[in-house]
Symmetry: C2
């Protein structure tokens, strides 16, 4: 009987191993899937910030425009690395953990099969025990029951060894997978963070080298340039309706700024850029930094 109990204990150890793996690997899987998902959402939010920064850059004077645009490009680069991080986490961390679920189910099915064999052994032992108590002198019946017990025990013993080998392989694989999956997790995170440090260092330099005074000069020239232009215009006796004059003023403002910037910088590319800020960003946006 003790060998039956011993077998049961061993199966309990094996079953606990699998149950534990199922519980925790399942949780690791859903937590790491959620972690990956939240990283993706962080990337999305930063992508929106990149878009707004680019839009904002287009409305600003050349110096700030170039700075903000370059900064936004670096921020976008970090998001590209974050995107790679998300994809790699899905492939090398979440997917293997998902596959693990199927693997565990298979092992549980094997344990269940064994338990049937074990139950049969106990049934035969109980039968023999009853027989011994009821008819201790019926040698033939007892002998038959003993043979059944031996057969059932042999089955259980063989299955236990098979199960033990399987669980040994399972445990070995579990430990290997655990080490591999979390090492991959750490490597993916490490690569991302290292790349982020690199790109943000460049972004910091961009913001540091921004020439605020130059930008402010541009802004002042814009305000006073308009004033100067109107002073130079001949006085008229008739007054146009305010709405029309303000619309015209709008157009004149543009022209004034453009010719003034031409005088200042003698650089014609800058002025066509004023007409199309998007084109400017693609092409000569960095000109003021040269």
């Amino acid at each position: 009987m003790s060998i039956v109990l011993s077998r049961d204990s061993r199966v309990r150890v094996m079953e606990n191993t699998v149950t534990n793996a199922e519980k925790y690997f399942g949780q690791f899987c859903s937590l790491l899937a959620a972690y990956t998902c939240r990283t993706a959402r962080l990337r999305d939010k930063a992508d929106q910030l990149v878009k707004q920064l680019t839009d904002f850059a287009n409305t600003e004077n050349p110096e700030l425009r170039a700075t903000v645009r370059n900064f936004a490009q670096d921020l976008a680069k970090v998001q590209d690395y974050r995107h790679a991080e998300v994809e790699r986490l899905e492939t090398k961390v979440v997917s293997p953990l998902k596959l693990y679920g199927a693997h565990i189910k298979q092992t549980r099915a094997e344990i269940k099969k064994f338990k049937q064999v074990q139950k049969n052994e106990i049934k035969q032992l109980e039968k023999l025990e009853k027989l011994r108590q009821k008819s201790p002198l019926d040698r033939q019946m007892i002998s038959q029951a003993e043979t059944s017990v031996q057969r059932a025990s042999a089955d259980a013993s063989r299955t236990t060894h098979q199960l033990e080998e399987m669980i040994d392989t399972f445990q070995k694989q579990k430990l290997k997978d655990l080490q591999k999956i979390f090492s991959d997790f750490v490597t993916i995170e490490m690569v991302f963070h290292a790349k982020a440090v690199e790109v943000y260092s460049s972004a910091f330099q961009i913001l540091e080298s921004y020439d605020l005074e130059r930008d402010l000069e541009d802004f002042r020239a814009k305000m006073h340039g308009v004033y100067g232009h109107y002073n130079a215009r001949p006085l008229k006796d008739t007054m146009p309706s305010p709405a029309v004059s303000w619309a015209l003023t709008g157009q004149s403002t543009q022209t004034t700024i453009r010719s003034q910037r031409r005088d200042e910088e003698e650089e014609s590319t800058e002025h066509s850029a004023e007409e199309d800020p998007v084109e400017d960003l693609r092409g000569q946006g960095q000109a003021p930094q040269q």
Copy 2:
């Protein structure tokens, strides 16, 4: 009249500056607040993973337990740095952007005030124009109207200069703040990523140095130790009910493992740890690595 139009143009430039700042700084504020919030959510998810890893460690053999526990501690350390990142983003990025909103509102109120002054100037000019057309010979009335125009113009001129100074300060502050806020953002992110690289490097070493074979030996000893223990027990003729025997088996299993580990390691701290895995984690959990 042209000086009125010129003033209007200048106010348009100033107004655009403020409107633009309001629009984009508002967006930067809500986007960076959301970015901070999503970073906090990522931290929370990783904290849950740390908890599960610690729970899992408590169910495993000493070798894996120490490895997973140390790994979880490093992962927790990264979350502490992420938490600091979140707090610093709130203090040095989101809060200044929020304050900016109030600053912009104040500036808009000043512009509105100026526009009233400007409107009065136009009103006086229109009055004078009508008078010149209707009664070109009424010198006294025209003279009075001219005085009113002069007064209104003087008001407008003074207010424009005040406004110009204010907008100049506003723009200078805007550019400074923009540079400061995004530099702070980059610095905060850079510090976090650099710390993460550092901690993950240590975590990688922990996972690399994990002795899988030793853990597997422990596991095999657990399985076979139970077997050996029951073989050594004296045979009994009466069979206890399966439920009771299995319950006893469960207890015996624990005892067996504990005494076996004592024989193997001759280290008593390890065994009290077996009784209280939480205590073990706080105290001597790293013993097997020594």
